[in-house]
């Protein structure tokens, strides 16, 4: 199997690209967590998804980046917006009326982040070497997913699970006449 090198467009200033994408991801994630209106949170989530897709591309995972855009932005986010539009009828559905709870949540999140940062800072990743050459990953991913010795069984299980979940979702979401 030959794997072609993809043209590397980010040799100049990979750090700048990383910092820009990271800033966009963190700001929009916090906006998604704290925006007073759910629709605004959903659109902030879209920005976060795009930033994460850019980070995947920066890491050389081109197929995962495109899947991220297609599945998350094209699928899950549209589902979320439909959920917001179909259920946001009352003021109570906005969800952030209690400042005490928001304060508690922000404190808990900050404490967890400090713990994680402390753990990351104190760990040397001995097995993490120089990054491998960027490759065109699509062919390798396709072969790995259809390899009986590799990921074929998890792949098929995931597809069956997805089918079952979608059938179940369609069954659950149908409108009942009674009550």
């Amino acid at each position: 199997m030959t794997v072609a090198n993809i043209p590397d467009l980010t040799e100049v200033m990979p750090e700048l690209i990383f910092h820009a994408l990271a800033a966009l991801a963190i700001v929009s994630a916090l906006a998604a967590a704290l925006a007073p209106r759910i629709v605004h949170a959903a659109f902030a989530l879209m920005a976060a998804f795009f930033a994460v897709a850019g980070l995947y591309a920066l890491l050389g995972a081109d197929f995962v980046a495109f899947s991220q855009v297609i599945v998350y932005v094209g699928g899950i986010l549209v589902l979320l917006v439909f959920g917001v539009l179909l259920t946001a009828r009352t003021e109570a559905s906005l969800g952030l009326e209690r400042p005490v709870r928001r304060l508690f949540a922000v404190v808990a999140g900050s404490v967890l982040f400090m713990l994680l940062a402390f753990a990351i800072h104190g760990t040397t990743f001995a097995a993490a070497g120089a990054p491998t050459e960027p490759l065109a990953t699509t062919e390798a991913i396709g072969r790995a997913f259809l390899d009986p010795e590799g990921m074929l069984v998890p792949f098929e299980l995931a597809s069956v699970m997805l089918l079952a979940a979608l059938v179940g979702a369609a069954y659950l979401a149908r409108r009942r006449r009674s009550s």
């Binding site: 991801a25 963190i26 967590a33 999140g109 990054p131 979940a165």
Partner: protein, 111 residues
């Protein structure tokens, strides 16, 4: 000089931790079930960043392309799609029967 040779794995881990904590804040503070789902999606994305980053910075053994972490990330993607579909179906169902999706008021099973 390759793509991310100038970077190390730590910035990606910090970023992933920050995204996870933003998701945790959303899950803990929101009362609307759809907003809680937004937080869960953020946490899943954080985990996926870790998977892809560790995949990329792994020491390569032999000539085979290193893509295990990306395969895991794609499976997580499929599970996230299934989870969002089922969760929204549940939310719509609850809204249909009880006319609200405030998780504080859904205490039917509370002892």
């Amino acid at each position: 000089m390759t793509l991310v040779a100038a970077l190390s794995i730590q910035p990606f881990l910090y970023l992933s931790a920050a995204l996870f904590c933003a998701g945790l804040i959303a899950v803990l503070s929101r009362r609307n079930a759809v907003a809680i789902l937004i937080g869960i999606e953020l946490m899943l994305n954080a985990a996926n960043i870790n998977l892809v980053a560790f995949d990329r910075f792994r020491v390569q053994v032999g000539d085979a392309p290193v893509i295990d972490g990306q395969l895991f990330a794609l499976l997580v993607l499929a599970i996230a799609a299934a989870e969002a579909a089922v969760a929204l179906a549940l939310i719509l169902n609850v809204f249909d029967t009880r006319d609200r999706i405030d998780v504080d008021e859904l205490d039917l099973l509370k002892g």
